[in-house]
Structures are given as structure tokens and as C-alpha cells.
Amino acid sequence: MRAYLDAIAAGYPTVSPALVYLIGMLAFGALVVFVFILPVAGITSWVERRVWARIQSRIGPNRVGPGGFLQWLADGLKNLLKEDVIPAAVDVPLFRIAPYVVVAGFVAAFVALPFAGSLIIADLNIGILYISAITSLVVIGILMAGWSSNNKWSMLGGIRSATQIICYEIPVGLSIFPVVLLSGTLSMQGIISAQGWAPTSWHMFHSPFLFVSFLLFFVGALAEGNRTPFDLPEADSELVAGFATEYSGMRSLLFFLAEWGNLYVIGVLVSTLFMGGWQVPHFTDNGVVLAVAQFATMFVKAYFWVFVAMWVRATLPRVRVDQFMTLCWKYMVPIGLVNVVGTATMMVVLPQGSIVLRWIMVAMTAAILVQFARRVFFHLRRANYGRLGRISEGAA
Amino acid sequence: MTQAINSGLPLIVACSWALLLIVVEMFSGDRRFVGVAWMGVIGLAVTAAMSVHYASVPAVYGNALALDGYAVYFNLLACTLGAAAMLLSIDYLGDAGIVRGEYYSLMFFAVIGVVIMAAATDLIVMFIGLETMSMAVYVLAGIRKSDLRSNEAALKYFLLGALASALLLYGVALLYTITGSTVLADVSKALSDTQHAGADHLVLLLATGLVLIGFGFKIAAVPFHLWAPDVYEGAPTTVTAFMATAVKAGGFAALMRTVLVALAPMRAELAPVLWGAAAVTMTLGNVVALRQTSLKRMLAYSSIAHTGYLLVGVTAGTNEAGSSVLFYLAAYGAMNIGAFGVMAALARRGRGCEKISDFSGLAQTHPAMACAMALFMLSLTGIPPLGGFVGKLYVFTAAMHAGLVWLVVIAALNSVVSAAYYLGVVRTMYFDNAPADVLPPARPYAAVVVAVAAVVTILLGVAPSPVLGSAARAFSKVLLG
């Protein structure tokens, strides 16, 4: 990226290089947003609705485009054209800015997200720290939205969201520590390079501590992203639509855009930290092919976790505020602390790790997954026996 | 390496002990927390003993912490005063409606803060010590939550204290921009190089001013004293006793190290400021104390006046003056803990024993307490042969030797003025008639503390040489050659 801009700057000696960098970076940022982030977030919304529909034995949006695939474009267009209502009693400037702050907070995370070995906007040496820092700005936007709406449901939603993000930041941070300890770096590419393509070299299977860390991270990330079962800020049965209650049109959509986009960020983070990121076997010397393979690997891994998050959302009921606090402070934080100390101890006792332990972890995980899948299919077969054959086929 | 660990050891033990106190308190069934209090006292004793054992270690940990004689002296002083305040509290707390066992651990933390302040040879560490002490004392001042005055005291102390801390930190930051270091010795070295560079002079003055304001607040020097009367009055009496003695000692420990070591090259600029602060502080403290009807407020203004006397010693800044300030702090601690101890011993629920008139005819009902109180009042006035007299004598003599004749004259006149209100208390106790509802008998723990304080006050007056000698030894190595 930098080299490319350098070349451009050299071609136009009359223009200041700083200006070239600025414009170049802005253009590249806009490109990433429009070509990647918006479609990913949009398509995620369609996928989510289809997945829920399947799980709930419905069909879901299937009219616009093949299988309803273009539904997200239609929704986006509709919301863009809708009237942007600003209620009379709101704090107008804050009300208007809030959705942008939320979106900016999540889009900025993409700066340090790795797509492939050579594809990353900026491999910051504090990558993971940067991401957790910049995404915590989302909460400011949500509080702004909640307060400026001048509506008690909005405010409760905003406050719940702030509580949630602040609280779960701690277990999430604690679950990142062991990974950082193992990799010896905060850089995202560095963390991925410390792992390999094979599951036995993933951080997740380094030791039981890391596996628990991975669970903590995923649960904590769901909570930070306001996803079910932690969607208390938008609990529609209690708070209408939480902090987004007073919003309409595109501003309202921006909040959801951030939520769906954030799902992808969570997926990338989980696969980067625990599952080897874009690592593929070095099967070819062709850089482009390799990059495409790496990108595909990363995307599939990330999207797997997006899918799991949707699955969780369609399956689990929402927790109560007190349960949610108990889970964070009485379980996740202490477990996270034990994990950090345990990993550090492991690294002193077994500096190279233990390949036997890794194989055992992988084997156990595989066994659990196989058993789980068997049960799922068993129940699906029983439930769908003789009716709705199409669904059981689709699930299989 | 071992030296580094050794010098940190008293601090490490103290911190662990304070943590242990929190845990023990959590499981202690006894509502009056006698055991916790004793554990705190033992912990302070252990800390003091360890600091004596590992004494005379020069600055370690990147020159951040020193366990030199100065630190050990203040360590002993703070631990003794803290232990005395804890013992005073045993009976007092339950009666005052304070059911918080954290009381003792907070007081322990406050003592740790004082210890850090005295041992710090780095401005940042010193600041952290100051904050540790202040945080604990803010909470202690407001620990009686059902009492509005206690709430007010805590809030006032906290808001003003936070402002003062911010100013102090800003001053430290500015000093760092000029000198490139926060280590006291390095700051001093850099200042003596750059002092006359001219360009940095204004920043330097600003930085020094901000640092002085920060410390001035903690020792309640005029014009940063406004919080003291309200906070002393509103806080529980035992906490006030702690604040008036140990907190002040900590403030002076940090102030003297900073002014006499780090800012030594600035002596010429600082002298008039300190001179003025000393004169105004003692005069204002004494004059306002004359008009008080509450004993606590009176003692608050008296403590402001004593800050002024102590500042006389800091202004002089010589070895002799420094060691006499150290001695004075010990004497002042003994007599003030005693005076507040008498109040705490007699106070009962709903009857704070805080007005001077509450003590009418105390000599008839509680002859021993009245006698002790009279002793402390006389010592505070500076009447021979008590500790307060010897302290003043040494400080003023040192100031004379440093050529501060007029300041000593002002101080002497002030001592005369102060006699009026101190002796007023004695008159009330001995010559007024006791009211119909007699004060209850003194509490045992508090009575013991008062008795010990009285003995120490007399001993410091009659045989000052051991303490004075150790103060002189403690101070001798502080000033950079």
C-alpha cells in the first residue's frame, strides 16, 4: 500500500507526498468500505434472516433475486429513500451524529483486520489492542443515541449497552492475554504467523486454558456486540427497540449495519486469535493464488462463527440483567484470570508446548463435535419424519 | 538485587498485611472489630521493625525508593501514630455508629501512603504515595455515612484534594519537561545546570509554584487551609487525630524532600515564598483559633498554626532546621494524638464532646483526663519542660542561625497569642463548674493511649536527646552535598 502510494507520489513531484498519502488512504478506505464492508454486512443480514427462518421452520425472504439474495439491497434502498424523522424533543446534533459514531467505530476496526497474508490495511504492532480500543468507541455512539433520543426506553437501552460493553471488555481482554502471551506480539499478522494451518498448531488447542479462553472470547464478543442471548439493550419486549427506538430510515439502518458488520469482525477475531487465521498449506508459489486461498480460508473460518452466532441467536433465550452480570463478574472474570496465570505457568513449565496435549485437545474437540452432529441429525430425522422432507434434506 | 528487595520489603509486607486485614475483616464476626484493630497495630509494628532492620539502603529501583534514615524516621513516626489512632478507635467506632471493618485497613493504607511519601526519591512515586494516603483518608473522613457533617467533610476534602493533586501533578509534569527526569537528585542536578538559562525560568517558577500549592494543601498551609476546619470537625474524632498528625507528617516528609533536595537550586526564589507562607499560616491559624467554641475546630486552626511553625524550619532549610522539624513533628504528633484521644475517650453517642464547654469542670469529674488534657494544651502552647516547648525551641534556634530573625519574632509572638486559647481550655476544665449531666467514664483503650501520649510528651520535653539525635542522623544524609 505504502509502496504503491510512494510510486504515485514520485510520479507527481509537484504535489506534496503527504497529500498523496492522505487522498490515497482515504480513497482506499472508501473502497474497502463500499466493496467489502457494506456488502458483507448487508449479505449477513440476508443470511441471518434465512438461517433463522430455517431454524424456525419458515422460509424467510426469498423474493428479491435468486433465493432472496438481493433482499439486502432492496432494504438498503428503501431505507435510504425513507423520510429521516427527527423527533421534536431530541438533542438534534447528538441525535444526528450518534449512528455515524457507531458505524465509524466498527469500520475503523477493519484497518487492522487481516484478510490474507499480504492483505491487511495496516499491520499495526498493537493490532489487537487497537481493535479492542477502537470498537469501544461504539459504546459512546450508543450512549449518545440513547440519551439524545429523550425517551426512557432509548436511554435504558443505551445504559444497558454501555454496562454490557464495559463489563464484558474485561473477560474479553483477559481471554486475549493468553494468546498474546503465546504469540509474543500484539500484531494481528504476528499472532497468525505464530500458528500454522493445521488444527494442532492453532492457539485454541495449545492447552485447556487456551480452549477456555476461546470460549470466553466468543461469549464475551457476543455480549459486546449486543447479540442474543445478550441483546438486552434492544430487548424488544421490554424496551421497544432500545437505543434505536426513535430512529428511522437510514440512521436506524446504520445501527443494524454496524451490528451485522460487527459479527464479521468477531468472526475474523476468533479465527485470527485462536484458529490460525488465513494460514493455508504452502501448496503453490504463485502469490496471487496463495493470497486468494488465504482470503478464502479466512472468510470461511470467519463466516463459520458468524453462522454460529446466528444459530445461537435463533436458539437461546435472552438472559436477565442480573444473570448477565453474574455471568460476567462471578464466572468469566475469575476464569479469565485463572487462564492468564495458567497459560503463563504452562509456558514456564513447557516452553515449547506439548504436541501430545495438542493432539488430545484436537481429538477431544473432534469427538465432541461428531457426537453433537450425530445428535442433531438424529433429532432432525425424528422430528421431520414423514413431513417437510425438504427441510430435513436441507439441514442434512 | 538483594538490597533492592530488602529496601522494598517493609513496604511489601505492609501492603500484604493491609490486604490481609481486608480479608480478615470480611470474616470477622465481632462487630467491634477488636481483633482487626489489634492485627492492624501488630502489622504496623512489624512494618516499623522491618524498616529499622533493613535501614540505610540508598535509593533503589531506578532511584525511586530509598530506605534511608529519613524514610525510617518517618516510617516509625507514621506507624506509631497510626497504631495510636487505631487503638483509640477500638472503643470509639461502635459507639459512633461506624460499623465498617474496612476502617482499619483504610487507616493501614493511609499509613502506607505516608511511608511511601517519606521513602520516595522520585516525584511520581511520591505522588502515588500522596494519593494512596489521601484516598484512604477521604473515605475515612466520610465513613460515618449517617452523619451529614461527615459527608460534607469527605466531599470537601475530596474535591479540594483532587484539585490539589491535579495541580501537583501538573507541576511535576512541567518539571519533567525542563529537567527530563522525575528523580529528585536528577531534577536537582538538571536545575542547577539550566537554572540561569533564562528561557526555562518562567516554566520553572510555574512548576515550582504548582508543586508547592499541591503540598501546601496537604499540610493545610494558608491560603490552602480552608478545608481543614470543616474536615477536622466533620470527620470522626479518631480520624481527625490521624489526619492532624500522621497525614501532616507525610505532607512534610514529601515537602521537605522535594523542596530541600529537588528544588535546592531554587532556594533563592523559594525562600521569600516559604517565609511569607510560614508567617501568614501561623498568624492566621492562631488568630482565628481564638474565636472558636468547638474544640475540634480550635485544634484544626491550631494545627494550621503549627504548620506555620514547621514551615519556619523548612524555610531555614539547614541541616539543623531539618532535624528540628523532624523532632517537632514527633512532639506535635504525641500531644495532638493525646488531645484528640481525650475527646475520643469521653465522647458518647449523640454527645460528641466537641465543644470546649463540654469540658467544663472536667477536673472534678475526670481528674486524670483533665490533667492529661491540660498537659497537652500546655505543650501545644510551648511551655517548658514539655515536648512542644523543646520542639519550638529547636526550630526557632535553627531559624535564628539561618538568619530568619524576623520570622522567629513573628513565631514567638504567635506562641504568646496561642497561649490565650490553649489556656482557655485549661481554665474551662479547672475553674468552671461541671454540668449536671456528668460525662461518662473514659474508655479503657483510649485512656491508655492518652496516658502513653502524655508520658511521651513529658519525655520529649525532659529528655529530648535520643529522638533529637535520631532526627539529626535521619536528616544528615538527605541534603545533597
Binding site: S16, A18, L22, D91, L94, L124, N125, I126, L129, Y130, S132, A133, S136, L137, V139, I140, L143, W147, G158, I159, A162, T163, I165, I166, E169, L186 | G8, L19, R31, Y61, G62, A64, D95, G97, V99, R100, S105, L106, F109, I116, I124, V125, I128, M135, A136, Y138, V139, G142, I143, S146, D147, T194, A199, D200, L202, V203, L205, L206, R349, G350
Partner: protein, 184 residues
């Protein structure tokens, strides 16, 4: 640092800092502070202190200010109260602030700091170097800070917890309260 980036950023930083003081609405003040802190973090990035920048955002903009906002919105503080009602006090406040600001500007604009050349080692500001400093030279300060925070937490809990939470003490705690209130 390129002036192209510095001046707009400095302007935003100062403007939002002014907003903290001048805004009559506490929520807007707090949000301006967030903006100001964020700009400071960007300055840290330009000064090669990436880790400090990230920590600045996590700790201040992310955690501390969120708690501020949290409390302000929860209490739903009324705006336009306080010093504004007493013009003398606000005049004194502005006067004192102006004097301090004037002194600082006068002092800092004349320092020799600008003349001093600073050479940075290539590893400056990286996590490893910072960690070595933090756990080496500044170990005492670092550890004692954790102690300080613990004291603050304990203190906050002591002040925030209701007195009745010790079973059986409720009456004991309530009686002095009543008698003391009566004595006022």
C-alpha cells in the same frame, strides 16, 4: 508530523476541550471530552507511541468517559445549573483560568524545549520497550499504582455500600443517625 495533519487535529482538540468547559449541558461536555481525548490519542500515534495511544482510547475514551456518561445520563443531570447562577464566581473562575493559561502560554512559548534535538531509537514506543520500562525502571511506581487503585476501590465500596448490609447492625447503625440528626 505533517502540518497538514497537525493543524486540523490541534484545532479539533482545542475546540473540543473548550467545549468541555463552555458547554452548559453535562452530556455534551462529557462527549467533548471524549473527542478531545481521542484527538490526544491521535497525537500519540503521530509521536510513534502507538501503545500509549491505544491505551489512551481504551482507558479514557472507552472506559472512564463511558462511566462518566453513564452516571450523567442515569442521573439525568439538569443542565445550566451551578456556577452560572453566580456571575461573580464564574468571573473569578474565568479570571483564574485566564491567568494560569496566560502564564502557561508565556512560559512554554519561551522554553528551550523546541531547540533540543530528540533522537528516537527505532524501537521507540513499541510494546516491548514500553514493557521493559514499565516493569524495569518504573516497577515501583507501577506496582504502587495498583495498590492505589485497590485503595480507591475499597474506599468506593465502603462509601457506596449501605450501612444496613451487616445483618443485625441495622438498628445499631440507625440509632446514632437519628440522635445526631436531632442534635442539629
Amino acid at each position: 508530523m505533517s502540518p497538514l495533519a497537525f493543524y486540523p487535529l490541534a484545532f479539533v482538540c482545542i475546540a473540543s476541550a473548550m467545549g468541555v468547559v463552555l458547554s452548559r449541558n453535562p452530556v455534551r461536555s462529557a462527549l467533548s471530552l471524549v473527542a478531545s481525548l481521542f484527538c490526544l490519542a491521535v497525537f500519540y500515534v503521530f509521536l510513534q507511541a502507538h501503545l500509549v495511544a491505544a491505551l489512551q482510547i481504551i482507558v479514557y475514551a472507552g472506559a472512564v468517559m463511558v462511566l462518566f456518561l453513564f452516571v450523567i445520563t442515569l442521573l439525568n443531570l439538569e443542565s445550566d445549573r451551578g456556577l452560572g447562577e453566580k456571575p461573580v464566581l464564574s468571573a473569578i473562575g474565568f479570571g483564574a483560568g485566564a491567568i494560569v493559561a496566560g502564564g502557561l502560554i508565556a512560559a512554554l512559548s519561551r522554553t528551550s524545549l523546541g531547540a533540543r534535538a530528540v533522537t528516537l531509537v527505532p524501537t521507540f514506543g513499541t510494546t516491548k520497550v514500553l514493557a521493559r520500562q514499565l516493569f524495569g525502571d518504573y516497577l515501583v511506581a507501577f506496582e504502587l499504582t495498583s495498590m492505589l487503585l485497590l485503595v480507591a476501590v475499597v474506599g468506593a465500596v465502603v462509601l457506596a455500600k449501605r450501612d444496613g448490609s451487616y445483618e443485625g447492625d441495622e438498628q445499631e447503625a440507625a440509632v446514632p443517625a437519628r440522635s445526631e440528626e436531632a442534635s442539629h
